[in-house]
Amino acid sequence: MATESENIESLVNRRYEHGFVTDIATDSLPPGLDEGVVRAISARKNEPEFMLEWRLQAYRQWLTMREPEWAHVHYPKIDFNAISYFAAPKSDEDRPKSLDEVDPKLLETYDKLGIPLHERARLAGVAVDAVFDSVSVATTFKEKLSEAGVIFCSFSEAVIEHPELVQKYLGSVVPRRDNFYAALNSAVFSDGSFVYIPKGVRCPMELSTYFRINAANTGQFERTLIVADEGSHVSYLEGCTAPMRDENQLHAAVVELVALKDAEIKYSTVQNWYPGDENGKGGIYNFVTKRGDCRGANSKISWTQVETGSAITWKYPSCLLRGENSVGEFYSVAVTNNLQQADTGTKMIHIGRNTSSTIVSKGISAGKAQQAYRGLVRIMPQAEGARNHTQCDSLLIGKECGAHTFPYMEIKNPSARVEHEATTSKISANQLFYCRQRGISEEDAVNMIVNGFCKEVFKELPMEFAVEAQALLNVSLEGAVG
């Protein structure tokens, strides 16, 4: 375990010793994508041969694929040659020197969300060395993980330090040519997280991208791989409630989870990328492939997400339930306001015997937003005794928004029990009047009703995250009723 703890140490320390002092400006590549760009990315990261080969194959496959058009979203065609595929992090000179230089509107939002002061600076992109003051937190965290033998590092680091694990598991859940954006990510992924929990280990703390300090610049093609070995347990938190601004409009991340026998992975996301302004200008396109593989018997993968950001979201965190008695869960709250569009949901593929899955999806649509739930429950012929329960509710606020439900159920084994329920309703004038008649303001009443609507999902989030998520929802729906 010594090497692993050293890795963590070097990761944590490197940041403070060096920051971004290398002359990275010369590292950036011009816009456009060809094999040379893929080779250059790999070379910049000093990747071993296998990684370059993998990227190149992905690139060649991507060339033969077409952009998906089935989702219920509309946006102008993306020019993939106008994107720079290796955008180096901003240098300190380009960043605001202190919070005084940051957009006051952004600070106001941080305030509403109750984000700690030291974190605000990091989120607003203030030069890191100047503000990061949680060294002690990181040190405690590093010691605890190394004692347990947990590997938690950046993806780039893992490629170099743990090639055998990366080679074994990378692409084993989301194959390179799984879909157009997954193939693109496989070719040009920038960085991301790598987690390995050894046999029988219960990860002593919740792992969060917040603690993996260099997360701020994982860039637009993030790649995450989490492997939970037999009998292990891990809870991973991705993102944060604060609005994240990013210059890159297209984000195409891939997340792969592998749960071996008796292992459990809980993956929680709060996504709040910039959604664009009230007129739909700007905003991130978030096209994500997230998939978990319950490879061993009695394994469990649970996805919980609160999605309020991005102009366009296209995301279906899924579970492949291979192991006998394995369990897949998906709990989601998605909020779209103004001109946001989201096409999101999950896939539960039941392969093993006695596998079970639960889907709870709560969609809130306001303003002129369009939101679709798209889900697939497939019971394969060999999945004797499979169970699924799906609850999928939409709440509409305002006349011009839309909520759509496209659930697919493909049942190829007669012993399956599959239940799907869905409702769509609006916040009724009667409910609001009732609350107001009891002295509660309209805004508070809406918040109260919305939080009540989402309760089933919030209770799946880690405690602090749940409180933040609630506040986030209220901020996201500000001005939706009126």
Binding site: S428, N430, Q431, F433, Y434, C435, R436, Q437, R438, G439, I440, S441, E442, D444, M448, I449, N451, G452, F453, C454, K455
Partner: protein, 191 residues
Amino acid sequence: MTYEGKDLLDLEPEERAREGIFLGFQYPVEIPGVNNAYLLKTAVNAKRKHQGLGEVDAFEFLKLAREKMAALGMDPKFLNRGVNEGFSGGEKKRNEILQMAMLEPKLAILDETDSGLDIDALKAVAEGVNSLRNPDRAIVLVTHYQRLLDYVQPDFVHVLSEGQIVRSGDKSLALELEDKGYDWVREAASA
């Protein structure tokens, strides 16, 4: 429409509530997922804040709510259910009276609180109303039937027809109405 020097029609519903007016609904709405206790606590504190008083904490609130519920013969578990969610007609009406008891209004208007109640629920609601009677509080009961008035003895009875008070009296007027029906009042009014 003036109330304590303020034009009620100028006020938003929540402002009226904070000014001490309570409206008991004929058909209280269900608000799925919103905890009954939570709504009540928020409402109580909204009013206290308006009056310049400090907020009650969860502990005080629960103690108070439990007391009031016991007085109304309500099971404390109602506090943890969604607002009126899956409540029977009688339970909804009791819940209205509980809210009234917690918010301590100066003026309470109970709109057909007796409709659709069985006799036990009717008695419980009436007892709740009676227990809240005091010289600083006006309660307006809107009803079509005498049976509620068997349990709540009114100080005044007004007959409202087409938006106008057409006759006023004491509790004997209600008995007379039950006996003779409404037509004679209407005829007398139009004559």
